[in-house]
Amino acid sequence: MHVIQGKGLHFKDLNAQIRAALADGQKEITLKDVNGQYYIGDGLREKATINIEGVPGNDMAAFMDGPTLVINGNAQDNIANTMNSGKIIIHGNAGDVLGYGMRGGKLHILGDVGYRVGIHMKGLNKQIPCIIAGGNAGDFFGEYLAGGVLILLGLDAKEGESIVGDYIATGMHGGRIFIRGEIEQKYCGKEVGIFETDEDDMKTLKRYLTEYCADFKLDLDEVLSKKFSKLVPVSSRPYGQLYAY
């Protein structure tokens, strides 16, 4: 295992060291004492695992296409922008605007997430991005969602507590959202409907959550013990008439 000491390092130097280690053929890298360095993992294509100790800075894993990032605490904003493949495991909370335009790969977060999670995520054929958060989420969850799968669990929520904010799935026109528990239509965008999960959905959920629970050593049966609400677009082309005359 290759260790990079991140303390006090500017992001340019830290990322240069990561790239050098990968070019060297390292498959397992640990970054120690990271605090706030931007752009970690951006554009990387190697099949390697990067463990991060500390709080990585904004814009982590943008355009990432292959590696696995494991963050042993909280992470900040703008993670996995336009990410194409690979995986991110966050053993803490994460911030706003996660998975912006994400087009593949997995983002697993144990704790809470902020606002605008999964904004304009997209997917096609086998290229299905997935974000799973174990805690609560802020407003605009799944805004403009075009594809992929968004799952919110609210595992530590108290009885009756809402685990997601307002304006859920506003402008959603593709993909699927699963929220553990009940949600109210008045907090959702007009473009989506709330449905019960069917057999196919449960198969999908079980597949995604088996991997998620393994990552965080959670009990899959307990996670699946509560009903999920499914959100999907009720019109596939909401703007189809916009420029028609």
Partner: protein, 359 residues
Amino acid sequence: MNHNYQKDISGCGLTGLINKKKTRVSGDAIARSLCLMNERGNGLGAGYAAYGIYPEFADFYAFHIMYDDPSVRFGAEDFLKHNFHVEKTEEIPTSPVAAIPISPLLVRYFVSPNKDKLSSIEGEEDFVVNTVMKINSEMDGVYVFSSGKNMGAFKGVGNPAEIAEFYRIEEYEGYIWTAHTRFPTNTPGWWGGAHPFTLLDWSIVHNGEISSYGINKRYLEMFGYKLMLLTDTEVVTYILDLLVRKHGLDIQTACTTLAAPFWKDIDELDEDRRELLTALRMTYGSALLNGPFSLLFGHSNGLVGINDRIKLRPLVAATKDDFVYMASEESAIREICPSPDKVWAPRAGDPVIVNLEAD
């Protein structure tokens, strides 16, 4: 002085801390926190505000004044001497910094209003506010950038480390600190446009853009405020002064006015609350801040952090013993407080209000 610096893309970073028991800490900590977010600014403005730094002059208003040119100093000083008892005058201590080859002349004055100048209807604080407005609007090249008691703002064009070194920030000790690194977008990056923006003991640092600036400005002008600093954040300072000091709103209600709930959410509330919020929105519609913002404001009794209503700018808060921290990024807090007791992201429009404990 040339205020027409080049325009560039968006950013800004802010950080603040408070010790609820009034234990004073050196400015070194807040500078380190701010410097961690260097990437959020572009060197066209940084600044610090601190409370509790002038205990030996705690009863005097501390005026920090920038003069574009030494020649304009004398007119302003004549005016001050005519209206105030000036306990002490000194140049604000600075260190030479290679990246800051030119700066305005920076002088501070510890003053108290001459009693015979106060009119019967006007209190001391109104007199100070009027003085600041008069100097900033009528005296060319003279700007009062700090005017509170036992507090002060230190700001200019430079990056966080340069401005901290320039003003020797580590030599001050305060129990509330706020700091800001700027990435000017719509308005010039000049010395008076750096944050914090202050008036009396209010100090504001802000990330975002006040789209309602025009409406807010015209509203404030009706109450005699003069907006001369070419930057949207200035309105927040004066709105707080108007709502809290002049109109007697509490901080929570003032925050509800700045980031008012949407009508659809007001409609859902019980009748008392609905009536109150409806009245507030109707009375203070022109004080509503529109557009993306996260901001921190300090005052003599505490520190407050607040976001816009749909959280278009980041804000993280943390506690550790008697300290509360708020910043644009969690890492900026952890840089000076590696293991906080609690870390959370405040919800949109929901203020974090921290008060000093009573003596």
